[in-house]
Symmetry: C2
Subunit: 653 residues, 2 copies
């Protein structure tokens, strides 16, 4: 065995830089040299390629043709990631919109006869969808719970969390989010789509899923962590591009939010992937437009088009807009803090009791959500429809779950609508469209918006962290646009000018809440513009984002950073903290002893050192002629084992 390894020295050295994710854990465990851990450990990835002799030799052997093949596969994979993520997004969208559409249609037809029966059907429908989601997640793909963005962010910053990029996670994420979003919970499908894109990318990077025998040797050309990380970056961008139909926003999200380093070469490929996603989604939507996909396909490529909204703004409006920014910062920071507490409690108490408790919890949340979203509009008095000009396209009232404002719910007369039902008893996409809508001044009463804000905010906080795939973008836009519209109502009443639209303020509110919670800047700005198609509001969005992020930063970190820290994913900041500036490594170590290896060491010593501690890396020390110690390198636990040799051999390879 040992001599065999000696002959295969180069092979062994190759393993150092070409290991597949999570592939060598079992081998380490066999001989008891692996680090003891609690199962949910994360492992660091190599940021750069380890350029040892084996790597250099392989590089030197590769001809121009092989390099060309390698580059070609990279671009081909970028194409596949785009197509795959685009199709996944279309599939999720078709499923969610059809489930939700059927649900509202069925409920609406039943409540014409009996509100009690309609209520029960509505609850059951929601419960069924949500249960299917939580069942898939808890039984089949536990890593698919939550948004997945903190884990992906961790991965792209060099920390691999166990199981986040597996094939089962991908499946769980897709079907789980159909259930959870279709079931009307206060969460979105955008975060999960980012995770979906990343999973597709990672599986491609491994040349398919080895576990399910879906792999090909020809596609297994990416052996380094760096190449796989590049693919996952493409996947992230594709996810955002598909979720919001915002290709440029996707590129920026991947580069601003998730990766620590910017490489212009990578940008070019990420850009390509995003463009592919845009083409795929657009083609699918064009195909669906004629009604082939049921409820999906109406509304066009821009999700919440407000290009016919406010054209201009005056200086007096900047004050209420700044106020929206401050509110966004405060509510966003509060959201981060509350979800942090709840997630902490869930992780340490509730979710330790097993998956049955998780399922019951989600079903309870679904029940509460259904009761509130059905019950509250019932308590609300209906309002008379606005007087409509003859050639206007506004229709009032309309049934719920359809594209359009002024939803009819529990209203007696013909020409009445229920303003709370318009946003609450509706799909989230339609609710946001209604909140953003222009030329619908005085559609909502302040009381309804305030009720909705409080209830939905609470629901979003409670839903966050349950065992279903859950994104925070759409709930954030819901919350933000509600208080934004509320402020807009006051502005309209106060300034009494003709060209002020409440919908503009709703959009700014949405931007402010996302800015206050997620603390993104340029990417969020571009996403907001791309989903609403009104470039003239760009300076206002920038202003609001600047304020809300600054206010939020005064209280805590961004949502993803907080959640990543809670999950034990270390994220390296771009600059050291103030108190770290004067710190030395000695102070950081405290009174712990440094375990190191000399340049030449016996195998027995290696084994005993490895067994005596849990460190993962060991500095190798040599001395200069005048006796000073010099660190000449670092050996990882993994490498030591792989060679089964004194390291000097591996070190000199």
């Amino acid at each position: 065995m040992l001599s065999n390894h000696l002959q295969n020295g180069i092979e062994t050295a190759r393993l150092v830089w070409s290991r597949l994710p999570n592939s060598d854990d079992e081998a380490l465990d066999e001989v008891g040299l692996s680090k003891k851990s609690d199962g949910s450990r994360s492992e660091s990835l190599d940021y750069e390629v380890i350029e040892n002799n084996a790597y250099r030799e392989e590089q030197a052997q590769r001809g121009k043709l092989m390099v060309g093949y390698y580059v070609g596969v990279k671009w081909f994979f970028a194409l596949l990631i785009g197509i795959g993520t685009g199709l996944a997004a279309v599939f999720i969208n078709i499923s969610v919109e059809n489930f939700a559409g059927w649900k509202f249609q069925l409920t609406f037809s039943i409540i014409q006869k009996s509100y009690v029966a309609g209520f029960l059907v509505y609850i059951l429908f929601n419960l069924l969808l949500v249960f299917s989601s939580v069942y898939i997640v808890t039984q089949f793909a536990p890593a698919a719970a939550g948004s997945g963005i903190p884990e992906i962010k961790g991965y792209l910053n060099g920390v691999d969390t166990h199981g986040i990029l597996l094939f089962r996670t991908l499946i769980g994420k897709i079907f789980g989010s159909i259930g959870s979003v279709g079931g009307g919970l206060a969460l979105g499908k955008e975060g999960p789509l980012v995770h979906t894109g990343a999973c597709i990318a990672s599986l491609l990077g491994q040349g398919g899923s080895t576990k399910y025998h879906l792999s090909s040797r020809w596609l297994q050309v990416f052996k380094t962590d760096r190449d796989r990380r590049d693919l996952v970056t493409c996947g992230c961008a594709a996810g955002v591009a598909a979720a919001f139909r915002a290709p440029v926003g996707g590129v920026l999200f991947a580069l601003e939010e998730v990766t620590s380093w910017w490489r212009s070469q990578l940008m070019w490929r990420v850009f390509f992937t995003s463009a592919v996603v845009a083409v795929v989604v657009r083609t699918a939507m064009g195909w669906c437009k004629s009604g082939k996909c049921g409820h999906f396909g109406s509304g066009g490529f821009i999700i919440w088009d407000i290009s016919d909204g406010q054209e201009d703004y005056s200086f007096e409006e900047l004050l209420p807009m700044a106020i929206i920014g401050v509110i966004g910062g405060l509510l966003g920071a509060l959201f981060n803090q509350l979800t942090l507490y709840i997630t902490y409690w869930r992780r340490n108490y509730l979710h330790k009791k097993g998956s049955r408790v998780k399922m019951i919890e989600v079903c309870l949340v679904s029940l509460i959500t259904s009761v509130i979203s059905f019950g509250l509009p019932l308590l609300r008095k209906c309002s008379p429809c606005p007087e409509v000009e003859l050639n206007s396209s506004i229709e009032c009232p309309r049934p719920p779950g359809m594209y359009g404002n002024y939803v009819n719910f529990y209203c007696g007369k013909d020409k009445e609508y229920n303003d709370l039902a318009t946003i609450f008893f509706n799909t989230q996409d339609d609710a946001i469209r209604n909140l953003f809508s222009a030329k619908t001044i005085h559609e909502y009463s302040a009381q309804s918006l305030l009720t909705f804000l409080v209830m939905f905010y609470s629901l979003a906080v409670v839903t966050f962290g349950t065992a279903v795939p859950a994104g925070q973008f759409v709930p954030g836009i819901m919350i933000g646009s509600t208080y934004g519209r509320l402020v807009g109502m006051f502005v309209v009443n106060f300034y009494k000018k003709l060209n002020i639209e409440e919908g503009t303020y709703a959009l700014l509110g949405a931007a402010s809440f996302l800015g206050g919670s997620m603390r993104m800047t340029v990417s969020l700005c571009v996403i907001m513009v791309e989903i609403t198609n009104n470039l003239k509001l760009l300076p206002l969005i920038m202003l609001v984002l600047l304020i809300s992020k600054a206010v939020g930063d005064a209280f805590n970190e961004g949502l993803y950073e907080e959640q990543a820290r809670l999950r034990g994913i270390p994220l390296l900041e771009s600059r050291p903290k103030y108190q770290m500036r004067k710190m030395t490594a000695k102070e950081a170590c405290g009174n712990k002893k440094v375990v190191y290896f000399p340049r030449v060491v016996k195998v027995a010593d290696v084994v005993s050192i490895l067994q005596s501690n849990e460190h993962n890396g060991f500095p190798v020390i040599d001395h200069t002629r005048n006796g000073e110690s010099l660190v000449i390198g670092l050996m990882l636990r993994r490498w030591n084992f792989l060679s089964n040799l004194p390291f000097v051999m591996l070190w000199h390879l």
Copy 2:
């Protein structure tokens, strides 16, 4: 002297990391230890802060208050850069549009009586403006010639070219580009505005201009290259944001095109600067709208608004769009190659003959440009105005130099216009607006567009590299939109559908030429969307850019890279070239001897080594106990001199 320096050891060490740009050259020259150079040398900047003991000590001494002040000044400077660049852009715009407006008004009023007199006035007006520009540049600010982007790109990648960020360069750039753009040359004001922003930022970073006694000790807080580089990045973004009124495009341009590394902290500040620019420019434009600024202020915040253009596109249109991409790649690569040859010839032959030759050259170019832009439309037959519906806003014919299509020039009848004059005898901004314009199908004849394309392309190539401030964005858009519109005309005739607009193809053509020449991706995409306000065309712009960049990359490098190389500015690529992969440092050195220092060395040896060669850096070598050589650091020529001591002292500080 020596003992004095010994006492001030810390002071000396501080100089290592806090030198101001170009501040220590004279001192080095005094004792003859500085490197011999040919005057146009570039010097490398420190990428990271040099953390020696002096630096750490100063960091440790700084209280929380000082750190707060430091951060506050950074943001205050970001604000000032935004305001300064915004105001500079407004000033340049007002001047250019008024000069050009007067010019066309005067010429147009004179040609009602005599075309010869009008022609002479036109030529003289242009010549005067261009001469003022070239006079300022050659006599006062030689570094202000050209676009400045290659030099700024070099600076942000760690190479300081002499004189590019001085106060006189700033002044020369502003007034020079007013003359050159107002004088009707085939160049733009966008590149110079980027340089202007960078100059403002750099001057702020130095705490004002020391030469002109405009500095303050309180503002001289930025002592490291890194901080100054961050400010210059802000300045670049501000320049693009001001030039195109595209704040997000500005951020992306700074981060994609000019800086090698992405830091999310920096992004946030750059974003703020861009937002400030947008607010300043918008406010100025609102103030100017009522006519207070003469010809400036019409047209709104979006420069070339085509949001009322084509709404949708069919699959058949993708083929002609792809063809536009290929044409853009070919013409763009050709442009880069031709300008490279011409610039090479200019640098090595023509411009060596002194500034008088430079002035004559520019005046000749101006003369040719005037003759062509006045003469060619004269040869062109006028076309009858289109039949206009009653409530349409289209006016035909119009005088030149005004906002609007259908320019009247040398036309006999009342209801006729000259299509070549509409684009040629007009300001470039108006010409582009006319080329992009929707609902003006069949405005141009193919013959006119082709004539214009050939003539303007030649003029742009010849003008590039003359001794005036010159941007390549607007000429690129002109060229691209001309052949784009040409392709669009064929598409309109071929498909005979109602919703196809020639203006859409003009926009795609512009994107393709810029992509083929400058090889930008995401930033260009966002800039194109921001200047035209039509998000629906985003996937098409992405597609065209992908093709044109790929085609262009097959031939040569991007315009800025080629020019930077020609000027001797080394740009480090993000990845090594294929042939470099197997190369060792030994091979790169060839048979040249390595000049190194031992750890302890006599002053006399240092001086003799420094005088014996022109190297700028010297490795310091020590040996391990078993005799191996170890590099323990690198000393720069500059540092050696600063200390006047054996380096071991400096090394141990």
